[in-house]
């Protein structure tokens, strides 16, 4: 393990592609979640939402990518994912841009645990997650 990876090390925030209708359509097709609130403006408004919202799972995917990339860079490629738990806290709308980052909670005994969040461009936390890797 590299010396920089220990409890308290910051996982710097990296941005993902801005949320667009096209991306949500692509994600809906790839994931199988065709809930109309992610695809159709009127359907979203009909259930009291301000407009189309992104799938929570898409935000979790961003966090997952950030976690994997961080561990690959900081600790190498022989770590496997053991646990990934996410809580969805706020909506993400078309036009929002999400970044993911956080801190290393622990890194010892062949285990790395990250505490990460996804934030939008206004600095609101839209999701939080715990990601654990084992050697």
């Amino acid at each position: 393990m590299t010396s920089e990876l220990r409890a308290g090390t910051q996982v710097d925030f990296k941005y993902f592609q801005p949320i667009t209708r096209e991306q949500l359509r692509a994600y809906a097709d790839a994931s199988g979640d065709q809930n109309p609130i992610h695809l159709d403006e009127q359907a979203a408004k009909n259930v009291g939402l301000p407009g189309i919202i992104a799938h929570g799972m898409l935000i979790q995917a961003f966090i997952g990518e950030r976690a994997l990339h961080y561990v690959e860079e900081a600790a190498g490629c022989d770590w496997r994912l053991e646990l990934f738990q996410a809580r969805f806290k706020a909506m993400t709308l078309v036009g929002d841009t999400i970044s993911a980052g956080g801190t290393v909670k622990s890194a010892d005994n062949g285990r790395i645990e990250l505490e990460l969040v996804a934030r939008n461009q206004r600095g609101d936390t839209v999701a939080s997650a715990q990601v654990c890797f084992r050697k």
Binding site: Y27, P36, M57, Q60, A61, F84, F88
Partner: protein, 146 residues
């Protein structure tokens, strides 16, 4: 409103997904994931047909529920050419009643097994836990069994 608590333990049918390289590539593109040997960590979200079957049987309308939490415990990686077999179960129903509204929190557990291309044996792949929140005015459809 349907008594969801009585339905705890209900199971779905078993479903199967064939993981192709082109599907993995579409998924990676959609979520901004780099190219790796294993499927991206949330690819297991494709294993939700069992949950959707249970939602339907419970009379839940997808647009009326909120996805509260999602957890994955990983036991074996998923790669192109694998087949995933899975089924889901309504593991828990929690009800929180206020004076003027109520909240229901449903937990679905999905057991995923993976069969590598060309091999007969299935091994445990992952356990997925989905937490859904039914909003206080959540209507159920007429399809719900009483």
């Amino acid at each position: 409103m349907v008594n969801l608590k009585e339905r705890e333990g209900e199971k779905s049918a078993t479903y199967r997904e064939e993981v192709t390289e082109s599907w993995l590539e579409r998924f990676r593109m959609a979520v901004g994931a780099r190219d790796r040997d294993s499927a991206p960590p949330t690819f297991l979200t494709v294993c939700r047909k069992g949950e959707f079957e249970l939602f339907d049987g419970l009379g839940l309308v997808l647009s009326n529920v909120l996805h509260g939490e999602q957890e994955y415990v990983y036991l074996a990686p998923v790669t192109a050419g694998d087949t995933l077999n899975y089924e889901s179960r309504l593991a828990q129903v929690l009800e929180k009643r206020g004076s003027r509204s109520s909240l229901q929190i449903l937990t679905f557990e999905t057991e995923v097994r993976v069969q590598a291309k060309g091999e007969g044996q299935e091994i445990p792949c992952a356990t997925c836990k989905t937490t859904i929140i039914i909003r206080s005015r959540g209507e159920t459809t007429e399809k719900a069994r009483a």
